[in-house]
């Protein structure tokens, strides 16, 4: 069955809400300089000033504008999300698909590496690595990607293994098609639902991990991150300041995560007819 994912999800309320949330966060990140009159690193004078006309969400313990930092923090989150999604899912597809297609020793080797990576305790390894290397945004992206791709590789491999046995791929082989043709005209298009779901999942995990690591203190001091903001805010919970420091940051982080989740959920439903109630009959081919 031929599906048009964009057309399908445009009618789904879940997807609309998710998209709306993500759109707001994205717009905030893109237009950060226009939406604020301060630089996020500037000391604006007073510390712990409550929200007002000068400072939309007040200022923090360093006298920096919380609203401005929230906007620039969105940039960090989205950059990490996008970069990890691309890097990690490409790695997943590369390793998973080649393992499934090539088979043999290569496949076993790849899959054992995947197993090993999955069994590593992510947070501890990251903290250790960050302790030895100077934490920076690119390093963080690499690190998160390094820990998210193995799960995806497993999924892609199993999917390609089942795709490989599909009749239309066998048929293409009987025309004398090489693997290049089969991969580009049959496997990649059939993998697209999986790949997009994978990217969504990677993005969500990346946002969460970046915030988490920053919260734990593993981050570049110059990078503005929601995790770090929450960490700093927590130190001052005895003051009223948490109401406009901790809560908006937490809400922004949640909105991003929920937005991505909603969108990925809706996309998966649209592209995987098995999850659709009204097309119970045509499911087989999506397996």
């Amino acid at each position: 069955m031929h599906v048009d994912p964009i057309g399908e999800i445009s009618h789904d309320p879940l997807a609309r809400i998710g998209l709306l949330m993500l759109a707001i966060i994205t717009l905030m990140a893109i237009f950060a300089p226009l939406l604020s009159s301060y630089s996020p690193h500037d000391y604006t004078g007073e510390i712990f000033s409550p929200p007002g006309m000068d400072h939309l969400l007040g200022t923090d313990s360093m006298g920096q504008d919380i609203w401005v930092r929230l906007l620039y923090g969105a940039r960090t989150s989205l950059v990490v999300a996008g970069a990890v999604a691309l890097l990690s899912s490409s790695l997943s597809v590369l390793v998973g698909a080649t393992a499934a297609l090539a088979g043999g020793l290569y496949e076993r080797f790849c899959m054992r590496i995947v197993d090993a990576m999955i069994s590593l305790p992510t947070i501890i390894v990251m903290i250790l690595v960050a302790a030895y290397l100077r934490p920076s945004l690119p390093l963080l992206i690499l690190l998160i990607s390094a820990f998210t791709w193995p799960g995806g590789a497993r999924i892609v491999r199993s999917q390609v293994l089942s795709l490989k046995e599909r009749m239309h791929i066998n048929a293409a082989r009987t025309f004398g098609a090489g693997w290049r043709h089969i991969v580009s005209t049959h496997i990649i298009p059939d993998l697209s639902p999986i790949i997009s779901a994978l990217m969504m999942q990677d993005a969500r995990r990346a946002v969460f991990m970046e915030a988490g690591l920053a919260f734990l203190g593993v981050s570049d001091p110059m990078v503005i991150s929601w995790g770090k903001m929450m960490h700093q805010a927590l130190a001052f919970t005895y003051l009223d300041v948490w109401q406009w420091w901790l809560v908006p940051t937490g809400l922004a982080l949640s909105a991003t995560l929920i937005g991505i989740s909603f969108l990925s959920c809706s996309l998966e439903t649209a592209m995987n007819p098995r999850l659709k109630k009204d097309h119970a009959r045509d499911n087989v081919r999506y397996g």
């Binding site: 069955m1 031929h2 599909r166 009749m167 239309h168 066998n170 048929a171 293409a172 082989r173 009987t174 025309f175 004398g176 098609a177 043709h181 005209t185 049959h186 298009p189 059939d190 045509d282 087989v284 081919r285």
Partner: protein
């Protein structure tokens, strides 16, 4: 004895006989078969010296060259030494004479004998062909067709000729009369040289020892009648037999494409032949005799397209194919039958290369298949069971049909488009843009299977492997798809390896049948013979079940506490 050397007869500019060689011993009966216009009757008339056209060559009979004799000398021979029973029983008798008088006249022409004696002899002959005295006094129009035929036979035999030529002797008779006449002929041809000209293959089989297939004035194939019918080796002979309904025929009748034409260069049959090569249209093929069979074909008769020699295949330690030997000829359908799990699909996938075969050889058109390259796949194609799975749901009709051409990088885009439309037309699908843009889920199962067939045909294959091609379709669609495959076979000379578990289906589409059981071919042969006389116990069970006989003797799984090794080996 009669011997004909390089006999050529032409009417005006048309050459009807172009070099016929025949040798007939006394007591031998030869059937001449072929389509109308092949020159059968002309050959008979030429021997009798009655052919109108100009003849060259030599017909020697009783040490005389008949072509060199004068009309008088010929007349002396006709009726006495050689006689012909003509095709048209209506015209061959004089309507104003009683039949006894006509026969007596035939006697007096050649012998000096009194009229009384001649009349007596005539009556005796009429009695010997089963007519009585009353009938002998009647006029031809008062007799039935069968009786008139008897009169003609007795007239031909009355002077005890050495050579008897029967031209379509039973064409207008009903089955019972025909049987009587055939019995009569059987005794009449004893001790004589006999030539039966007919297009009725069952008559030829009943009367003749040898059979010669005439095509456009040349002998295409000659050999023992039985062998020729059971195992035709010339494509034309096979075409004739396929188009002739017989009580044991199981496959649907198929014709021969095109029409007979005289005066073509090269092999006269090349335009209608599906296995022609370049040389066929240039040089007349020589008649080569091998194993008592004379064949005029550059390719030595019907070529084996695919040969499988002791092929084995195992999934890990599990042998799925054991020592399989199989030959598939050009233009025939071989049904591969057997229960599920017998290795049918594995065999077909091993041939096409979806499974790497273990041991053994696969030979395609005489050369061993080692690497499956573009050239291999443009000769061998496959149709799969479920069309909706074998055609990608992401491809519309046009994309699907274009795919093989794109994979093999054949021609320009326009040429591919043309070819795609051509094959879609061949499988009787519309070729308008609206249809070309449709996706498989917008089409019916039968339509998608047609698309899959068109796709397989786009590379112009010679061998089509059809793995249960209709089992996902409902019966009426199945019938149409099978008809389509048969028509394509007739048109293109496609060989089809038809994999199915449905014997009733295989019966209708296949020329030959191979029965698979536990990875082995346990029986192989002509479909009708296998169905009538299955040899192997497993085949017998399959056929019994297909006929709906579900007796206990057909049960493989018996209710036993312990299935011993004997029970398991029962049908191996």
């Amino acid at each position: 004895m009669l011997s004909i050397r390089d006999l050529k007869v032409s009417f005006g500019k048309t050459q009807i006989l172009s070099g016929v060689d025949l040798d007939l011993e006394c007591g031998e009966c030869l059937a001449l078969v072929g389509e109308s216009g092949a020159g059968k009757t002309t050959l008979g008339l030429s021997i009798m010296g009655l052919a109108k056209g100009s003849s060259t060559g030599e017909i020697s009979f009783q040490e005389k060259n008949l072509l060199a004799l004068s009309e008088d000398e010929l007349r002396q021979l006709r009726g006495r030494e050689m006689a012909m029973v003509f095709q048209n029983v209506e015209d061959a008798l004089d309507p104003v004479q009683r039949i006894q008088d006509q026969i007596a006249e035939a006697i007096t022409v050649h012998r000096s004998i009194s009229t009384k004696n001649a009349m007596d002899m005539a009556l005796k002959h009429l009695l010997s062909v089963g007519l009585n005295e009353e009938k002998a006094r009647l006029y031809p129009h008062q007799l039935s067709g069968g009786e008139r035929q008897r009169v003609l036979i007795s007239m031909a035999l009355v002077n005890d000729p050495d050579l008897l030529i029967l031209d379509e002797p039973t064409a207008s008779l009903d089955a019972l009369t025909k049987a009587d006449i055939i019995r009569l002929f059987r005794s009449a041809i004893l001790g004589r040289i006999c030539i039966v000209i007919t297009h009725d293959i069952s008559l030829a089989a009943a009367l003749a020892d040898r059979m010669a297939v005439l095509y456009a004035g040349r002998i295409a194939e000659m050999g023992r009648a039985e062998d020729l019918i059971r195992d035709p080796r010339h494509p034309y002979t096979r075409g004739l037999i396929r188009s002739y309904p017989d009580m044991t025929t199981t496959k649907d009748l198929q014709g021969i494409p095109g029409r007979l034409a005289h005066g073509l260069s090269g092999c006269p049959f090349h335009e209608r032949c599906t296995q022609r090569i370049d040389i066929c249209s240039k040089i007349m093929p020589p008649q080569i005799e091998k194993d008592g069979r004379l064949i005029a074909c550059h390719r030595g008769g019907i070529v084996p397209l695919l040969e499988i020699i002791s092929l084995s295949h195992a999934f890990e330690a599990n042998y799925v194919l054991r020592d399989v030997n199989l030959t598939l000829y050009e233009g025939e359908t071989l049904a591969l039958v057997g229960e599920s799990g017998s290795g049918k699909s594995t065999l077909s996938k091993a041939i096409i290369g979806l499974h790497e075969p273990g041991r053994g050889q696969i030979i395609l058109e005489g050369s061993r298949v080692i690497k499956r390259d573009a050239a291999f796949y443009s000769r061998v194609q496959m149709i799969f069971q479920n069309p909706k799975e074998s055609v990608s749901h992401r491809m519309n009709v046009l994309d699907a049909v274009l795919e093989p051409l794109q994979v093999q990088r054949k021609g320009s885009h326009e040429a591919r488009l043309r070819r795609a439309k051509e094959v879609l037309d061949l499988v009787e699908l519309p070729i308008d843009d609206d249809f070309l843009k449709k996706y498989p889920h917008q089409l019916s199962g039968g339509e998608v299977q047609r698309v899959a067939i068109a796709r397989a045909l786009s590379l112009g294959p010679k061998l089509l492997i059809a793995d249960e091609p209709t089992s996902a379709l409902d019966p009426s669609v199945q019938a149409k798809i099978l008809k389509l495959l048969m028509n394509l076979q007739e048109k293109m000379g496609l060989s089809i390896l038809f994999v199915t578990h449905d014997i009733a289906l295989a019966r209708k589409v296949s020329d030959r049948m191979a029965v698979m059981h536990k990875g082995r071919i346990v029986e192989e042969g002509a479909t009708n013979e296998i169905l009538i006389h299955p040899q192997h116990p497993y085949t017998r069970r399959l056929v019994d079940c297909a006929f709906g006989r579900y007796g206990m003797e057909n049960a493989e799984i018996e209710m036993m506490v312990e299935p011993g090794p004997v029970a398991l080996e029962k049908y191996c």
